[in-house]
């Protein structure tokens, strides 16, 4: 527990800056280690398939940042991952594991697809209204596992996994039945172009102002967690439920709020995808945003700034993969393998402990939950 107390201490005033600087080395150690090891293993895999790792990685970087179109694709891939990363990170700060990002994205996306069409006549005015509705539906859907945990003791890992499938089934049914358009592509009708999130232009392709909404969401997450009484309570519950309870902080209400606010971020992410990129909810809808959000959050040590950086890395890998496959015959699935390896190593504190001794464990604060599933 000592390392977690370190993390929680000195959360206000000038000490914040000093603490951030002091902990920077520790904060970067595990993610950088995990990223390095994954790229080394990746290079071995590329060699084994008879390709040149340097050429493959160069193509990867080129495909992610090489030209405005590539940068645009990277921004498009990064945007939803910021939201789903925040969804995981926010709940994690309360000591909760939100595996439900996937379902929450679907709920938000359906909300946007439905309201976007109905309110399309409002033009740009529809955008804030629809996105606010996505925040609300994501919040309510996210609150379900919170209530199940707070009042019925059902563990959130299992319930959020189950709720993913329920959300997907529910939204697919809605999109294919009551809300189905007459068009050839199965799914909802197109949202009026005037009611969509505007494109950034600058040769960035379909990249849109959604990325700024994502950055704003990260700022909001930071302010909520570190600058409000409620955020303090949520973090207190995450650091030590017993002590929080003793101090009169309600565990139940903060559990529900942490999961619900996490859900609100993911719901907004689904809405931004629909209002910014797709203009409708086509079935099958994009997938794995929620699961990749877990990796993003962990890599970013569950801090909003880290989440943005983690999302950028994941987003860049996703867009660089196409170029890599095109230029070097290395299958684009390699990037999933790289992400999986990063995920495997980012919480394996003991590996570095062998190298650095006990200090490594202290540096690992914020990357793991020291509690079981049984409680």
């Amino acid at each position: 527990m000592t390392e977690e107390r370190r993390e929680g201490r000195g959360s206000g005033g000038t000490s914040t800056a000093r603490r951030l600087l002091g902990n920077l080395g520790g904060a970067l150690l595990f993610p950088v280690f995990a990223i390095l090891i994954s790229f080394v293993i990746g290079a071995v895999i590329i060699l084994a398939t008879g390709n040149n790792p340097v050429a493959a990685y160069a193509a990867l970087v080129n495909g992610a940042f090489g030209n405005p179109a590539a940068i645009g694709r990277t921004l498009i891939n990064t945007t939803p991952l910021v939201f789903t990363g925040l969804a995981v990170a926010f709940a994690f700060r309360a000591g909760l594991f939100n595996i439900g990002g996937e379902g929450q994205v679907y709920i938000g996306a359906l909300t946007a697809a439905w309201l976007g069409v109905s309110l399309g006549f409002l033009g740009p005015l529809a955008i804030p209204i629809v996105l606010a509705a996505c925040v609300l539906t994501g919040f309510l859907w996210g609150a379900i596992p919170g209530v199940l945990k707070a009042y019925f003791g059902a563990h959130e890992v299992i319930t959020t996994i189950m709720l993913n499938f329920i959300a997907i089934d529910l939204t697919v049914w809605l999109a294919l039945n009551p809300l189905r358009s007459k068009g050839l592509i199965p799914g909802t009708a197109d949202i009026d172009a005037a009611a969509r999130i505007p494109l950034l232009g600058l040769g960035l392709g379909r990249a849109n102002f959604g990325i700024f909404i994502a950055l704003l969401a990260a700022v909001v997450a930071y302010l909520l967690l570190w600058r409000t009484r409620r955020g303090f309570q949520i973090r207190a519950v995450g650091l030590s439920p017993g002590a929080a309870n003793y101090a009169g902080i309600g565990i139940g209400v903060n559990t529900i709020l942490a999961l619900a606010i996490g859900g609100a971020f993911a719901g907004l992410g689904g809405g931004v995808e629909v209002m910014g990129i797709y203009g409708k909810m086509a079935i099958p809808f994009v997938s794995n945003l929620g699961f990749n959000g877990i990796g993003v959050a962990l890599l970013g040590r569950n801090h909003p700034v880290g989440v943005v950086l983690g999302a950028l890395l994941f987003g860049a890998l996703a867009s660089g993969a196409q170029q890599m496959q095109f230029d070097t015959n290395v299958p684009l699935d390699l990037t999933s393998v790289l992400l999986a390896i990063i995920l495997l190593f980012v919480t394996a504190t003991k590996i570095l402990e062998f190298v650095l001794g006990k200090r490594a464990r202290e540096l690992a604060a914020g990357t793991r939950l020291e509690k079981g599933l049984g409680s």
Partner: protein, 305 residues
């Protein structure tokens, strides 16, 4: 509904439930030892893929199965090394296993077969009618004209029940998941018991995967497990971490799948039938109709004092 159709539904129930039972029983060994395994989905797909690769190069379904078991074991051991030895977070390691298996099989499809999508056809385990038994009206064809893997599953359920509740190994396994300190005090290695549990989950989940790719079909298709690993996880929880309970839950979920396409879409939409296992799991986890309680030490790395 006539008797013939009922027989078809029963046969379909068995076919749907078989991969779930393999994976759920595998998950039970892991979770009973105290290691959460949400990587069942990944372990299944690795089994499905490796089985087809083994059968493709050897021309033998049995060698395919052996390859699958070896691959499932290796992937399970990655989870074990990460969670048990390196004390990585078990949920995250499980998520990584799923991602690694899904991405890895997609990657290897291109490397081995030249393109993604579906592999070439391979030798598979064909249905074997058991003389006499398969002639019983209604249930004969459903239960006794199935592939060898289904018969293995029939054996596996009672064997698992016996091993877990009637052998010293089972007692140690359960104790490791409940009170690892006591197991340690008794001179049994917690680490070793957990390695056994996780290893068994990989072996059994790969059987489930092989059933999909080399019995229901005779080829591997990317993403073919399609969430079955998570349904198996649901069956495990719904069955309260008990072999009989998990098998019963898997049969119920298999039945739900079997009737999905027989219920008219305008009466109950497929999507709602599909939701059923997940809703039921939440209901029992929330304590309606008798609480489902996980092993006490599940999810916690064990450190010797």
């Amino acid at each position: 509904m006539d008797l013939n159709e009922l027989g078809l539904i029963l046969a379909s129930t068995i076919r749907n439930a078989t991969p779930l039972i393999f994976a759920a029983l595998g998950g039970m060994f892991s979770e009973r030892s105290g290691v959460v395994n949400i990587g069942l989905e990944g372990l299944m797909i690795i089994g499905a893929f490796a089985g087809v690769v083994g059968a493709f190069f050897s021309g033998s379904a049995v060698i395919g199965l052996a390859t699958a078991v070896a691959a499932g074991l290796i992937f399970a051991l990655i989870h074990a090394v990460m969670c048990i030895t390196f004390e990585a977070d078990q949920i995250i390691s499980g998520t990584a296993i799923n991602l690694l298996a899904l991405g890895g099989t997609g990657f290897l499809m291109v490397v081995i077969f030249g393109s993604g999508g579906t592999s070439p056809k391979v030798e598979s385990f064909k249905p074997i009618a058991i003389p006499g038994l398969s002639d019983i009206p209604l249930i004969g064809q459903a239960f006794f004209n199935q592939s060898i893997l289904v018969y293995l599953m029939y054996l596996l359920v009672p064997v698992t029940l016996f091993v877990v509740f009637r052998t010293p190994f089972g007692l140690r396994l359960r104790a490791t998941g409940e009170v690892p300190e006591a197991v340690d005090t008794a001179g049994v290695s917690v680490t070793r018991m957990r390695y056994y549990g996780v290893a068994l989950s990989g072996i059994l989940a790969s059987f489930g995967g092989v059933y999909l790719s080399m019995s229901l079909l005779s080829a591997f298709t990317e993403g073919m497990t399609n969430g079955r690993g998570f349904i198996a996880l649901a069956a495990l929880v719904f069955g309260r971490w008990n072999p009989l309970g998990a098998a019963g839950a898997a049969l119920l979920f298999g039945f739900a799948q079997a009737i999905t396409f027989r219920v008219p879409q305008d009466v109950i939409p497929n999507e709602f039938v599909h939701m059923l296992p997940y809703i039921l799991t939440i209901v029992v986890l929330a304590g309606f109709g008798g609480r489902a309680i996980a092993p006490a030490a599940i999810g916690k790395p064990y450190r010797k004092e």
